[in-house]
């Protein structure tokens, strides 16, 4: 996969792709080979009651967390489909965790998702992957060409709509910055 070639430069990379990241490990959580498993479970928002659960019986949300727990000590962490399996609160938590792992422990993190919103305030670079080849690269969440490959996040769609009506609103992915701009515009 070409991702490995650009990882040296991009330590937090957003990948837009249908790449299959489904979890295939079975068995009891307690049998997984993880150091300090209680601490590791806590880090991924699970508690000790999960030790006696079978991975195949867990929900997609819980399986994602177990999968991440197994990867957390690797130098390069590749995770996928956050938007498909996690709720909003979990996504925000894991984004903070990824930033901390990147800043404090210099881990390279690749986040594969079809929803660009997951990358807000997290990655500086995004690539579109098709048939394991990079077909597009951008740093700009407002890049029109990016949305030929995936759906547009509502905040970007709204700002682009306002701009198309000649209402001058600055590009932002922060709802509070948008509100300030709207306030200035209508006052």
């Amino acid at each position: 996969m070409e991702i490995s070639k650009i990882l040296n430069e991009n330590e937090l990379l957003g990948v837009i792709s249908n790449y299959d990241t489904s979890f295939k490990i079975e068995g009891y959580v307690k049998d997984l080979n993880v150091k300090n498993i209680l601490q590791a479970l806590k880090m991924v928002l699970l508690d000790d009651t999960y030790l006696d659960k079978k991975i195949e019986d867990l929900t997609l949300n819980e399986q994602f967390k177990i999968d991440l727990m197994l990867k957390i000590n690797k130098d390069i962490i590749i995770v996928g489909n956050l938007s498909k399996v996690l709720n909003y609160k979990d996504i925000e938590y894991f984004k903070k965790l990824f930033l901390k792992l990147n800043n404090d422990y210099h881990k390279k993190i690749v986040i594969i998702d079809r929803d660009v919103k997951v990358f807000f305030n997290l990655v500086k670079d995004m690539v579109v992957l098709k048939d394991k080849k990079i077909v597009y690269e951008t740093k700009d969440f407002f890049d029109n060409e990016l949305y030929q490959y995936t759906k547009i996040p509502p905040i970007i769609e709204f700002i682009k709509y306002l701009n198309s009506k000649n209402i001058k609103i600055n590009k932002t992915v922060d709802i509070y910055e948008l509100i300030k701009d709207i306030y200035r515009s209508v006052s």
Partner: protein, 149 residues
Amino acid sequence: MEVTSVTIVSTNLNKKILDKYRDYHVIDNSFKLEELLKYSKIIFFNVFNDLEKEKIKDIYNYLDSNKISYINVTNNIEEALLTKYLIVYDKENILIEGPVIEVLKNDKLLKRIGLSLPFIVELSLLLKDYGLVNEIFLNKESLAGALWK
């Protein structure tokens, strides 16, 4: 007979939710539109994640015109705006249900269980707090129309 058009939003997608709807056919993978005609009641389980809302609307219109009832189970609250009725599950239990706009007014309750609001609803609520609009809007056109009259 009225056609059911419901979104179920869950904090932790679990197929146990589907046990309550045994008379519905479950679609949990890619599908062809024509194959939906074989069923009178369909549950979509986390399948619209990659689709633009216009495409989801097209599917719903197709089902409506063929008098097929449907429930969409998702973790994406944005999809709630595409049906009139919304059921919110916290894990395996119903937390709240009702007409979409009425359910979404419970923003503090939804956030407490880890859900966000659809972007345009959240923006409306915040702008309402600042006294810039008087109501909650469900689409960008009507919100923009109210702000820049």
